[in-house]
């Protein structure tokens, strides 16, 4: 087990990502931030807060559960459905920033795009992740990455956040081979 990101690393990465999002979108006026539960939802709230303090105004943010849109539901026992909360301004014509903790196969994001399509038609959809660990199974990439972590498929990447786990930390478990 090795610590890949400490609490300070995470905090710096989220600050940088927030600035990058604002830079790329020329400000915050049309941005809606949506986190994928559970940890992505907390990251989304943090990024929205950092962007709010940079811009000096509230950034619309919410959560988007993708469980019902997964293509691998039948491979597992039933998963718990998590809350979806779309901010009142919605996603129609907005620049939606999807936020997740780890980008791996890309299947979660594919499901998220389907789920988003049911809610409305955003002008753009961008993806921000704390960790990109590679091994994509679909043609999907992140626009904003906290850290690229080269891993083997046998390893697992565990993201802990204070809101849920009491500590901010990213660790890699298992041996690289």
């Amino acid at each position: 087990m090795s610590v890949a990101l400490s609490a300070q690393d995470i905090s710096r990465a989220l600050t940088r990502i927030s600035h990058e999002i604002l830079e790329k979108n020329h400000g915050s006026s049309d941005i809606t931030v949506l986190g994928i539960p559970t940890r992505g939802a907390h990251l989304a709230a943090r990024i929205a807060e950092i962007m709010s303090s940079i811009e000096g105004k509230e950034i619309a943010h919410g959560t988007l559960d993708i469980t019902l849109y997964r293509d691998d539901l039948r491979l597992r026992p039933p998963r718990t459905i998590m809350p979806t909360s779309i901010p009142p301004i919605g996603v129609q014509g907005r620049d939606v920033i999807l936020i997740d903790d780890v980008l791996y196969s890309g299947r979660t994001i594919r499901a998220a795009l389907d789920a988003l399509g049911e809610v409305g038609r955003p002008r753009t959809v961008q993806l921000a992740v704390l960790v990109d660990r590679g091994h994509r199974q679909l043609p999907i990439r992140a626009d904003f990455v906290g850290k690229n972590l080269p891993t083997s498929e046998k390893q697992s990447v565990k993201v802990s956040l204070t809101e849920i786990d009491g500590v901010d930390e990213v660790v890699i478990e298992g041996e690289a081979s």
């Binding site: 559960d65 019902l68 849109y69 691998d72 539901l73 039948r74 491979l75 597992r76 026992p77 039933p78 998963r79 718990t80 459905i81 998590m82 809350p83 979806t84 779309i86 780890v102 791996y104 196969s105 299947r107 979660t108 389907d114 049911e118 809610v119 409305g120 199974q137």
Partner: protein, 316 residues
């Protein structure tokens, strides 16, 4: 969990899990999303060997909102009315590749038999068997009670609920007593002695013969339909007398606690167990029970059918 045959099949965690899933689905259904791809490619058969309005269309709507294919099948107009046995019917459904069968049958234990004898490989969901159980109705009733009176709690601890009327013939009452008491509620059964089943003393509920003394002390009153079609004997002298002692009229309703709600699983005998003005009053959640039924049945289908039986590989 593969089948839903009886409330006894559920643990408290399972039951709360279904209610929580229904809560999230209700939020999705309230929004603009009416169709989810979750059960695309699955086939669900509604096998109704007994008449039904609410339960059948509610299961049909639930399955369709999850993108499953639905085949409706009722006794009238099928070979069941020619005397085909349940076994042959089940094997026919198996041959057509049904992933789940929602069964309503006049014989108690029909769903259990379908599940136990492995005539088919899919899930069996009991949508009412004789006078035995109706678990999806109890789950939607618990959902409705929790939504109105739960104050954010996950279970029903501390709530008092009266179930009034024809307990003897009611599968709704039996499932509700089991589920509501499992979730921590105190259940009072109110009925004339002739309409209580043998062995009711062993149920997790108290019994009262005096409706008026119960009314002010409960948070919800669930009226049961007088099931005349199942009554071969005379259980009460006449309907006017039944109505006077055990019917919910506006006078009785005014004695209820301010926050208390009126429920009825439907179909109602207006003027017999419930007065029309009570059924249509602001306290009545009877129409909402139907709406909640779709969400709860979506949750049941999701829990039984969305996941695979085995853990194969892992993609996160």
């Amino acid at each position: 969990m593969r089948h839903l045959l009886s409330i006894n099949d559920l643990s408290t965690t399972d039951a709360i899990g279904i209610l929580d899933t229904a809560t999230e689905l209700a939020r999705i259904n309230d929004g603009q999303v009416k169709k989810l791809p979750t059960l695309r490619g699955r086939t669900i058969v509604n096998l109704f060997a007994e008449d039904s309005t609410r339960t059948r269309i509610s299961f049909e709507a639930a399955a369709k909102r999850l993108s499953a294919d639905v085949i409706n099948f009722s006794a009238k107009g099928s070979s069941l009315s020619k005397g085909e046995s349940l076994k042959d019917t089940a094997q026919t459904l198996q041959a057509m590749g049904a992933d789940a069968v929602v069964i309503r049958h006049s014989a108690s234990g029909a769903a259990q038999r379908l599940a136990d004898l492995e005539w088919m490989s899919g899930s069996v969901i009991n949508a009412g068997d004789g006078t035995h159980e109706h678990p999806s109705q109890a789950l939607l009733d618990a959902f409705t009670i929790r939504k109105h009176l739960g104050k954010g709690a996950s279970d029903l601890t501390g709530l008092r609920i009266a179930i009034v009327g024809d307990v003897l013939h009611s599968r709704v009452a039996r499932s509700n007593v089991l589920l509501l008491s499992m979730l921590g509620a105190d259940v009072v059964l109110v009925a004339p002695p002739t309409l209580l089943p043998v062995g009711v003393e062993s149920w997790p509920a108290t019994i009262s013969y005096d409706f008026d003394s119960v009314i002010p002390n409960v948070d919800a009153i669930m009226m049961l339909r007088v099931q005349q079609e199942r009554m071969s004997d005379l259980f009460f002298p006449n309907s006017r007398e039944y109505s006077r002692y055990f019917g919910l009229n506006s006078e009785r309703m005014s004695a209820m606690a301010k926050h208390a709600i009126v429920m009825h699983p439907g179909p109602m005998n207006r003027g017999l167990e419930i007065a029309a003005d009570v059924a249509d009053s602001a306290r009545s959640v009877i129409v909402e029970q139907v709406t909640n039924g779709v969400n709860v049945r979506m949750a049941i289908l999701y829990v039984l059918l969305a996941g695979g039986p085995l853990e194969v590989g892992s993609n996160s």
